[in-house]
Amino acid sequence: MLHGGHLLSVLIFFPAAGALALMMLRGDDHKYIRYIVLIVSAAEFSFSLLMLRYVRVGDAGYRLEEFAHWINQPPINYHLGVDGISIFLVILTTFLTPISVLASWKSIEHRVKEFFVMLLMLEVGGVGVFLSLDLFLFFLFWEVMLIPMALLIGIWGHERRVYAAVKFILYTMAGSIFMLVGIIWLYNATNTFDLPTIQNMLATGLLALSPRTEMLLFLAFFVAFAIKVPLFPVHTWLPDAHVEAPTAGSVMLAGVLLKMGTYGMIRFCLPLFPGASHRAARWVALLAIIGIIYGALVAMVQPNLKKLVAYSSVSHLGFVVLGIFAFHNISMQGAVYQMLAHGVSTGALFLLVGMLYDRRHTFEISEYGGLATPMPKLAAFFLFVALSSLGLPMLNGFVGEYLILLGTYQRHWQWASWAALGVILSACYLLWSYQRVFFGEITKEKNRTLPDASAREKWILITMAVVTLWMGIGSVFITRRTAADSQAVIDQVEPQRPYEAAAPVRPGQQAARVAPGVASADSPERSGTR
């Protein structure tokens, strides 16, 4: 069993099988359904932890690879693999699913069976996206994920759910259809959909794209990812989707779907189109910084608590994109770390907002106030999570943002300076909203008698808090494993920066440095640095 067998396939198909089995069941006994889903998703989480055994520290490259021919014309393969970056995103997905199940234990009352089927399908899509090493397979999971998410929003969401669901799906499809064209175009140039093969062709100079082609391809991929992240001008679907989605939907949306965008940038945009990534970097960084500041400012003036959290996502994800496009190992690792931290702490924020909603059926901050008196425990958890989200040292948000700023600063101190504003602003909007919701006089009579966290809620929140704290203290556990693969990505984007290359240079990359295609793709001043 040392080779891990078909662990990755199990990870993808186990929840799918669970969903299928659930569909066969009769839908009237809600209790059984909830327990079954909880067991399935918890088992899936423990399976995903098994991957940790196979991803070695300090060693880049894909592990646990699975390869099977699927379609022969054009050659599309079922190719899975996991590396130091994707492993934690998979674990994040499998971790958030049982949490979402628990969070929907009471709040989902109608069409319970369908709800959990959709949730498991969402998990299948998320895990599949992070594990696919075939562009086509990646696209397939990417698209498949849309439908369960849209249905989660559209069926179990709040008042304007249909509008939000349609907006979500149209935005995402608009991006991904161009990615499909890009994938096919890339196939045309390479005759393969296999990501490692294409990377290899780039490294050995077999594939040389003209600057214009490379830029167009980069954009085809990047726009799809940017919409999913979401980056500044295309973020408008996110607040609607978040506000209207049920709690579990929001958690998965923030925790998994948004990460698919940033993951795509790391996995595809940078390694496949290094020249174009370089030329686009300053514009992307500009958008990211606008997103950071704009998201924070809009969050500050939100009267709606859930929308506030949603806009804080725009701001936090801006950090991630900035970290990725600074092309520095530290900021890259920070970006990966921030993806995980954001998934946990924003997920927890959505859970807490959902718990408030369960009690009062409103997200309006003005409806609350002085909640710390009737519900001290919930208030304490909320403070803890808010502090982690705004980047208090010792908690998870700090590590990511710090690494991103540190790495970015070494490349472009201006970028880091602007982005640092976001850290300050996030403290403003989170603490201010916390004050308005939990402190002060109780203005609404209904709030006086609200029940504190139930046992189930307490367990959910304790789990989230423990993970938050552990990620803040034990961050080395994660960064040790992401280091080599982040460096590998940087190596592919910037082969000419030797001083960071901690990993020994492989023969393939040596060739890449003199590859004519890459050289011609560069702007004059960069070629001069060779």
Binding site: Q73, P74, L146, I147, V166, I169, M173, A174, I184
Partner: protein, 490 residues
């Protein structure tokens, strides 16, 4: 092959058509004597299946038949199976419909089988006059079928419109044949290989043929008839229209492409423009529809546009030899297959949910369907998602192959326009899904008993839905078959 007397193999090569016509005639003859309606359904079912079985025999005897009038090869085999499947499924779906609407059965099935035979002739014709006969066989039967609900005003309107515009288009087609004959001295496609692609007469003739066939496939600007005809015709007939004649007309176009180099040289821009116009006409039209049949009709136009994109790719690639163009041919064939399955399934559901007299055709009648009839709603969602082109459905691979063909031939702009159209399309397909899953049903439809789905109709739905998913997961067998180098026999 030079002997004056047709060989037995020649008859094998037209066996599917012979069987379809034979069973059609049989149904007509027996009509006065047999009162049992189920008998005719069974007869037509067996007849349609027999024709499909016959196509295997024709496939086993490949080559030109009847002095080069028709050609039996993998290509014609594929289309015979396709139109045969369409016929079988339409028979199954039409049985309960005809009972419900109290319409005579025997003539319906006879006409259906004649139309199928005509489509078969179109698919294997290698000579333009033979193709014309096939076109007329399928068209004339179609005109009558469109007006089959004699008492319904819309059905009459549908038949009248279809007939007037259709005969006009057929005239174009025939005139085109005459001009091509004048230019080349032959009507056999395989003898036009050396035709001068620059000859004005040939260009004129080919343009007219294109107009005639463009009408049949509902390509803009010849698509005006489609929504009205689709809406007025009995819904199983609409299912037939959207799947069968379209596939057959595309088959003939492909055959012309594959055998006449002059056509491929000349038609590129025509197809480029036709494709763009058709995609936009279909998708923009569908956006504002409130009637499900009209919505699906406009979606048919849009999908014809997508297929025309592949044709533009064919024309652009065929210059590089047939092996280059094979990808685009395969794209068209796969798309037609996936599309036929989906449209048959969708129209069958529409036909069944329409109720007596086809009253419930408004989109609002589909609100909250998932609560009343979850299985039906799920099936319709599968079809719509396939039309939309979402993965794990056959429609996705169809669209994927067309994108691939377009990118292969460097038609990036066309690919981008198609992508934009796919997004527009997503909106109205999703609208139906949203209605079914996210809206509450109206008071009266919630009170109404769920519509029953008889066994035969359920079979149609099962076959089309399973086929859609199956070809979406494992397109290998089909793709391997249609990518074989001897697709056109030579």
């Amino acid at each position: 092959m030079n002997s004056a007397i047709p060989t037995i193999a020649d008859f094998y090569r037209v066996l599917p058509e012979l069987l379809w016509c034979g069973f059609g005639l049989l149904a007509m003859f027996l009509q006065p004597f047999v009162r049992n309606r189920h008998f005719f359904t069974a007869l037509a079912f067996i007849g349609a299946l027999a024709g499909m079985a016959g196509s295997f025999l024709s496939f086993r005897n490949p080559g030109a038949g009847f002095y080069g009038l028709i050609q039996a090869d993998a290509f014609s085999f594929f289309f015979h199976l396709l139109v045969g499947t369409v016929a079988v499924l339409v028979v199954l779906a039409a049985g309960p419909y005809l009972d419900r609407e109290r319409l005579p059965v025997a003539e319906f099935y006879a006409l259906l089988l004649f139309a199928t035979a005509g489509m078969g002739v179109l698919a294997s014709a290698q000579e333009l006059l033979t193709a014309f006969i096939g076109l007329e066989m399928s068209s004339i039967s179609s005109y009558i079928l469109a007006g089959y609900r004699r008492d319904a005003l819309k059905s009459g309107e549908s038949a009248m419109k279809y007939f007037l515009l259709g005969s006009f288009a057929t005239a174009f087609f025939l005139y085109g044949i005459a001009l091509v004959y004048g230019a080349t001295g032959t009507t056999r496609l395989d003898m036009m290989v050396d035709a001068d692609p620059l000859g004005t007469l040939l260009k004129l003739g080919l343009s007219m043929i294109l107009i005639g066939l463009g009408f049949k496939v509902a390509a803009a600007p010849f698509q005006i008839w489609t929504p009205d005809v689709y809406e007025g015709a009995p819904t199983p007939v609409t299912a037939l229209f959207s799947a069968g004649p379209k596939a057959a007309a595309f088959a003939l176009l492909l055959r012309i492409f594959a055998t006449v180099p002059a056509a491929t040289h000349f038609w590129f821009w025509a197809f480029w423009i036709l494709a763009v116009l058709t995609m936009f006409a279909g998708n923009l039209g569908a956006l504002v529809q409130t009637n499900i049949k009209r919505l699906l009709a406009y979606s048919s136009i849009a999908h014809a546009g997508y297929i025309l994109v592949a044709f533009a790719a064919v024309t652009s690639m065929a210059k590089g030899g047939r092996s280059e163009a094979a990808v685009a041919y395969a794209a068209v064939l796969f798309y037609l297959l996936s599309y036929a399955l989906v449209k048959l399934g969708a129209f069958t559901i529409v036909s069944q949910l329409g109720g007596a007299g086809e009253k419930n055709l408004s989109l609002d009648d589909y609100a909250g369907l998932s609560q009343r009839q979850p299985v039906v709603a799920a099936m319709l969602s599968i079809y719509l998602l396939s039309l939309l082109g979402l993965p794990v459905t056959a429609g996705f691979f169809g669209k994927f192959y067309i994108f691939k063909a377009a990118v292969n031939s460097h038609l990036l702009w066309l690919a981008v326009l198609m992508a934009i159209n796919s997004i527009i399309g997503a909106y109205y397909y999703l609208r139906v899904i949203v209605l079914m899953y996210m809206r509450e049903p109206s008071a009266e439809s919630a009170a109404a008993a769920p519509v029953g789905f008889p066994l035969t109709v359920s079979v149609v739905l099962a076959v089309t839905a399973i086929g859609t998913i199956l070809f979406g997961l494992m397109p290998n067998p089909v793709i391997n078959f249609i990518l074989q180098p001897t697709l056109f026999g030579h």
